[in-house]
């Protein structure tokens, strides 16, 4: 295994620093929102984790296509890494979303298009992991994984669209478009700055984690190869 590249060490340190800085900015620099007070702070984390989840999701789909075209197992490692990171960050986004929803809409969960789509996305990725678990042969596992990320990836926007459509026609009980408007707030410039800082920070964290996870995947790959060679 190659030694850890300098750039990666640098990125890791930078991620840590930026994360602390982002927390400081969120709690010190960003003004307190009038109606929701401190709960509003979770918004910055929520939007950033959701953003990273999207990034990972797109990266996984792109890696899936790259694998199907090149048949290079390196892409499979990237795909799995992106899926795992996406899975965790979407979960954080869903949880922080609930924390936001409770004081804002008076409920932990609404069948809002974004929330529901995020939840379905989590289920698709869990299914993806179960699929991989059921296949021994690494090459076939990679192929099926790539196919499923593509099928899942294409279904997500359609799902989002269908739930949107459902809400506009479905009688409003709780948390429809109007409730969302209630939960919204006017953004002060300082809030905007904070949001973009948090987005940037989490993007760096995403890249760092992805890199680490890819290296781990390579290590596991080499280990499996060794074991096979020993077995021969």
């Amino acid at each position: 295994m190659e030694p850890r590249p300098k750039l990666l060490s640098l990125l890791t340190a930078l991620s840590l620093f930026l994360f602390l800085a982002a927390l400081t900015v969120i709690f010190v620099y960003a003004p307190l929102e009038a109606r929701m007070n401190y709960v509003q702070k979770v918004f910055y984390i929520h939007i950033s984790t959701a953003w990273v989840g999207m990034l990972g999701f797109l990266a996984a789909a792109a890696a899936g296509i790259a694998f199907l075209v090149t048949k290079n197992l390196q892409w499979d490692i990237v795909e799995l890494a992106a899926v795992e990171i996406s899975l965790v960050f979407f979960l954080v986004a869903i949880i922080t979303g609930s924390i936001w929803a409770k004081p804002s809409w008076g409920t932990w969960w609404t069948w809002d298009a974004r929330l529901t789509t995020a939840a379905i996305l989590e289920l698709i990725y869990l299914a993806y992991l179960l699929l991989r678990q059921g296949i021994e042969d690494p090459e076939r596992r990679a192929r099926f994984g790539a196919v499923y990320t593509l099928v899942g990836g294409l279904s997500v926007p359609v799902t989002f669209l269908s739930i949107r459509l459902w809400q506009t026609i479905h009688p409003a009980i709780i948390g429809t478009a109007s409730a969302q408007a209630q939960g919204g707030f006017a953004m002060a410039p300082a809030m905007l700055h904070t949001m973009f800082f948090a987005l940037g920070t989490f993007s760096v964290i995403f890249i760092t984690l992805l890199w680490h996870r890819i290296r781990l995947g390579r290590l596991a790959h080499h280990l499996e190869q060794r074991r096979l060679q020993d077995a021969e």
Partner: protein, 241 residues
């Protein structure tokens, strides 16, 4: 380049001709239907299962007369979805058991034709289940379900369902966890079909104005088109080694 010489005893033309795309699809479809006509295992299992699900729904959510119109589309589609996974699993397991999938792949036909043949067979089974289910449901709950609009929705919804289902079943059957895996893989990606089909069915049953139903029909058609194309492109990646 021409293959090796033919001995003079050979009266037949060499077996090098290839059937057209449509003929290959029909051959696969015919094979599945003929095997099913013989055993009737699949259809009877799907049907009995579907009837049981409806029975269970009856107790679980008390299909009181005033609720029936609103709940019926949901009950119908959940029933069809569950019964459908039985069919999809079985349809691919048959190909796997005696190595038949290899036999299909060895034939000089386009692999997409194999996919569409299997998919159409699954569609036929699903529609047959629906066709038998509808009068039963109408009888049991005193509702007329023979509505051309509803039949159209069932056709469109089933088409999207079997397109994705056949593709995912051909992966699931090759995994260690086989039968367990298919619903887990399939259900999260067919949410749009289910949602649109339930809404559109409800719209037709409650005779809602067509403008309200149209977006759902459009969604169904869009989903069908996207996933037929995706399955067409990806099936090769599943069956090749």
């Amino acid at each position: 380049m021409t293959p090796a010489r033919k001995p003079p005893t050979d009266r037949r033309s060499p077996g090098s001709s290839r059937p057209g795309f449509g003929r290959a699809i029909l051959a696969v479809l015919w094979k599945d239907l003929a095997a099913e006509m013989r055993s009737r295992e699949l259809l009877s299992a799907m049907l009995v299962f579907a009837l049981l699900v409806i029975l269970i729904f009856n107790f679980a959510i008390e299909l009181a007369p005033f609720l029936r119109l609103t709940v019926t589309p949901g009950v119908l589609w959940v029933t069809l979805t569950f019964a459908g996974t039985l069919g999809l699993n079985r349809s691919m397991a048959v190909e796997k058991d005696r190595g038949c999938l290899d036999g299909l792949l060895l034939a000089p036909v386009d692999r997409a034709a194999i996919f569409f043949g299997k998919m159409l067979a699954n569609l036929v089974f699903m529609l047959l289940v629906a066709v038998i289910l509808l009068p039963f449901y109408s009888l049991l709950y005193n509702l007329n379900l023979f509505n051309p609009g509803l039949l159209l929705v069932i056709l469109l919804g089933s088409l999207g369902y079997v397109a994705v289902g056949t593709l995912l079943a051909s992966m699931a059957v090759q995994a260690r966890t086989r039968d367990m895996l298919l619903p887990i893989l399939l259900f999260p990606v067919i949410v749009p079909v289910l949602l649109a089909a339930v809404r559109a069915s409800g719209g037709f049953l409650q005779t809602a104005p067509f403008e309200q139903i149209r977006p759902w029909l459009n969604l169904l058609i869009g989903y069908d088109a996207i996933f037929l194309a995706v399955a067409y492109m990806l099936f090769d990646a599943i069956v090749e080694e």
